[in-house]
Symmetry: C2
């Protein structure tokens, strides 16, 4: 889900190569750059008051959200409700934060069963997670309905839009998944995926400033007096790369790139069906997952031919992500080999 960073990302990266956001007082300009990226992400996700940070990736972003939710709830035995399809990094997080996961089954479109979400809420529930673009199938959970449940039950609702967060705002018709939904408390959105920024540039946004107080650490010897991220030392170079890509491409540029990715996705999905493969679900994002009658074997053969696709045992499928560096000619060649 990473791609070749945009050329301007590399240029900006070089300019900020020795900056460190872990020591804020020394790099006030870089701090400002981060604020501007967060502000742009906030606007994109329809909340000008959103506050947040550029972090090492989706795992740190998701962890910060669940840490805040856990610290807010202050229950003995914290539980988090999340779809069976949630990213594997949540398992790391549950182990670290000592949270019990309550996994909810999926419907036929690989989206979480909302009725089951509500049924599993109890006094230990510290958060409900929904995914706006699962890593494996690109499926989008019914965030709007989860948000309503979260409001009704006064529970933290975290949206993992690490991948989809920089695609969905640029599509014409998409389900609501952002801060316009009252229940959405925090959103993960990673510029180093579809944002074409340098690694590491994950992003975490909170609905308002008060929420980050839940994860504050004192930093007694540094030039800034507090930290909120998990990592202390943080590259300003990657942050600058995200800033530069946003500024350079603008909304138009992102729309053009996303449109092209979706075009390639549609071509691939159609081509696969034509050959006779089963496409697991109608792609909503630039991800296609398909099956043959011996998918594991097929994946092996493709690897030997130099197609580095991923095989997903959980759904017995091959998954292709059509990132900006993938071109129509690659899709055509892939379909040709498959045929």
């Amino acid at each position: 889900m990473c791609t070749k960073p945009h050329p301007i990302a590399e240029k900006a990266n070089r300019m900020f190569f020795d900056s460190n956001l872990g020591d804020k007082g020394l790099f006030p300009g870089t701090v400002q750059v981060e604020k501007e990226v967060i502000s742009q992400l906030g606007e994109l996700l329809n909340n000008k008051n959103a506050t947040g940070f550029l972090v090492t990736g989706g795992t740190e972003a998701n962890m910060m959200a669940l840490l805040a939710a856990r610290n807010k709830a202050k229950v003995e035995k914290p539980e988090v409700i999340l779809p069976y399809s949630a990213h594997f990094s949540f398992n790391k997080i549950f182990n670290m934060l000592k949270i019990k996961p309550i996994y909810i089954p999926l419907d036929k479109a690989f989206r979480v069963k909302v009725s089951e979400v509500e049924r599993n809420i109890n006094k230990n529930t510290v958060a409900i997670v929904g995914t706006a673009g699962t890593a494996e199938l690109g499926a989008i959970d019914p965030i709007e309905q989860i948000s309503e449940i979260a409001v009704k039950n006064k529970v933290w609702h975290h949206v993992d839009a690490a991948f989809g967060g920089l695609i969905l705002p640029f599509l014409k018709e998409t389900p609501l998944f952002d801060f316009r939904l009252q229940g959405v408390t925090s959103i993960t959105v990673d510029p180093h995926k579809m944002g074409m920024a340098a690694i590491p540039t994950g992003g975490i946004l909170f609905r308002d400033r008060t929420l980050i107080e839940l994860i504050k650490t004192e930093t007694p010897y540094l030039t800034g007096k507090t930290q909120f991220t998990i990592a202390g030392t943080r590259t300003g170079a990657a942050v600058a790369s995200a800033w530069a890509v946003f500024r350079f491409l603008g909304r138009d540029g992102f729309e053009r790139i996303v449109k092209n990715c979706i075009k390639n996705t549609v071509t691939l999905a159609k081509g696969l069906k034509k050959i006779g493969f089963e496409v697991l679900c109608e792609p909503q994002l630039n991800i296609v997952a398909f099956r043959s009658n011996n998918t594991g074997k097929l994946a092996e053969i493709l690897w030997r031919k130099g197609w580095f696709i991923s095989y997903i045992p959980k759904y017995d499928c091959i998954r292709v992500v059509l990132m900006p560096h993938t071109k129509q000619k690659h899709v055509a060649a892939f379909l040709n080999d498959l045929a």
Copy 2:
């Protein structure tokens, strides 16, 4: 504690700009680069069997070690024994991992009181932490004695050498702090500090391969089937930068740079005493901490003059780290302004 990365770090960074260690199968060459850096660090710290990872920095490194220790011990109410002088990032870690910290007071040389360490061990102790070069004063805890206690009590001993780990091996006379000590289970050592690599390049080494099994996560859809780090997506660029600096400088190069840093440190410490400031402890590394009769006020004045030193309320001192980018002329100008 970061410095301007070495020019060759930038060159290597550029070459590996789009590589991602989170998806191992796609970047086998970068995986090999990481292995070689870990192997070099292992040799430097006298353990060819050491295994480990290049991570986002000292916080992630320390967290991985304490997570492994906690998971190994499997006690209800885990405790970690550590010096009062340990890095503030441990507070983040204790909050996240739900570990109770047992802070131990320091002796007059700002090193942990070993007798107190031993006295506080109980059935809930999952690890003892010692620091080989505290961030604030550069003090080195008596790691050799802590190691003996750890062996005797069969407790995990983690050494935070994030800063000192790439200085101490290049000094002529230094206390033992590495894997030669039987009790040392894991060591944090950050190439993005004195290793002059790009941010983020932290390092965590474990005594042997079996220990990392304690922090393994399955990664069902990626080209590699397991992950051990907290971050998923990881830049290969920073890893390559560490590799290049190690290869380019070699032992001689590092010795030369460290020698120069120490020379500047000695000049500064002597100059400060001559002016009449109190130097808190005789520098063992390239860190000088000093006091006046109104240190807070002095720090403010220095900032206004453009000296971005750090003031540390905990010890009421000003602290200067003499990194490779600091030259004799800077030291002279600083002393001149102070006088």
